[in-house]
Symmetry: D2
Subunit: 137 residues, 4 copies
């Protein structure tokens, strides 16, 4: 299991008239979570795209338990539970507030796609290489 | 079953560097879908909040099939499959492009909450009243 | 003088914890205003980009007089005050609420740029052609 | 003169189909810049609002020189050029990329407002107190 944590401070722009972080804005937080999870493995998502592989989202789901507020420092905990294989990768997320309370849980499924033809492609070798050590006994 | 359709034209602001509508932006489209679905029933969500009842999201999930692009006119089809009861309401969504191709399917679960104390409350009578006729044989 | 009006209903996503439309969100409204102003002239900005000319923003300024609120139907009034010449075009904007009160005034300056090399290029002939009639005595 | 710098990494969500940071998204970056500028002075904007004073934007202007891209680490340099007096405060901003190139320059004008009645109020004493030392000879 590979776990990565990244902190994000809530912007005023991200709140809504309820005073909460708008329910749609967590998707961007999780994007940051997975980009940083990859970076912590030595992988640059920007570079991956420049080299011709992108990682669009196939599905996204989230369960909300508690709201987040302006200026809160949230911890996005991003987890990869299994070594990606085939053409897909699965990310799981938890958002924790400063009291370490879990505000929501989410997951996304992605497919590796060749930018040149838009077709699914195998998980790049360098992704498997850096993530595999986290799944050895 | 109650079905409501509303058209939204994709803004440049909503695209990302892939040239697609960013995966996180559909949540706002579905918010528009359900607000307009309520309006088509004669219900104003703004008024509902002013009268002390709000409708935060408990869960949201979406499956993406095809991307949407800048300037596309999307149809957000919002469906209520069952008469809301207890304290909850469920919305289902489909996003269709101009060729009537389904780009994604989604659903949200909401809880009616009293603004004054933040506690769940029964589905307001006027909501049940206007939606019930769609579920009679 | 060429004037175009387009209506936009404020989304919940666009409000902030003050209960107002977030000050940064008007830029997207004005983008819609100018895309629709061009469309009303028979010009598709999407097509213009596909044909190799884009219109990035050089400057943007806005003065805020009054806030807008969730569910308000705003009128974005987009004005072109002079026939574009050289490589630039200037848009002026006013946001009006349902009581026809002016909420803010703004302007943007854009440069026509060739997508192929990123360099400024003359205002396309078809733009001048469709806008000129509005400036004849 | 008071200068504060804060780093922001560009999110995928913030790019548009040109591949640039969408022109409207800098407003949120500058919001972060000024909130962090206040925090570096020992002032919490969240606390200020909770204590009944808010700081809406009266005007905003920006000149764009160069674009920013996904994953860029931008430095938002926020400057206060004069001790706020009356009911207003002025912020100036520069966005610098990792090569220290200035991508844009902006400014905002704000008014201190009492949340209770929505009326302008004098600059709070604690704001003047912490910022004055930066303007002494």
């Amino acid at each position: 299991m590979y776990i990565s944590e990244h902190k994000i401070r809530v912007r005023y722009a991200e709140t809504d008239k309820m005073g909460y972080v708008y329910y749609g804005n967590y998707a961007a937080y999780f994007e940051v979570g997975r980009v940083e999870a990859l970076r912590a493995l030595g992988l640059s998502y920007r570079l991956m795209e420049e080299q011709g592989v992108m990682l669009p989202v196939l599905s996204y789901s989230i369960k909300y338990f508690k709201p987040a507020f302006f200026d809160d420092v949230l911890t996005i905990r991003t987890t990869v539970n299994e070594i990606p294989s085939g053409t897909r990768i699965y990310f799981h997320y938890e958002t924790l507030n400063e009291q370490n309370i879990c505000l929501n849980k989410a997951e996304t499924t992605h497919v590796f796609v060749k930018t040149s033809n838009g077709r699914p492609c195998p998980v790049p070798d360098n992704v498997i290489e850096v993530i595999s050590p986290f799944f050895q006994k």
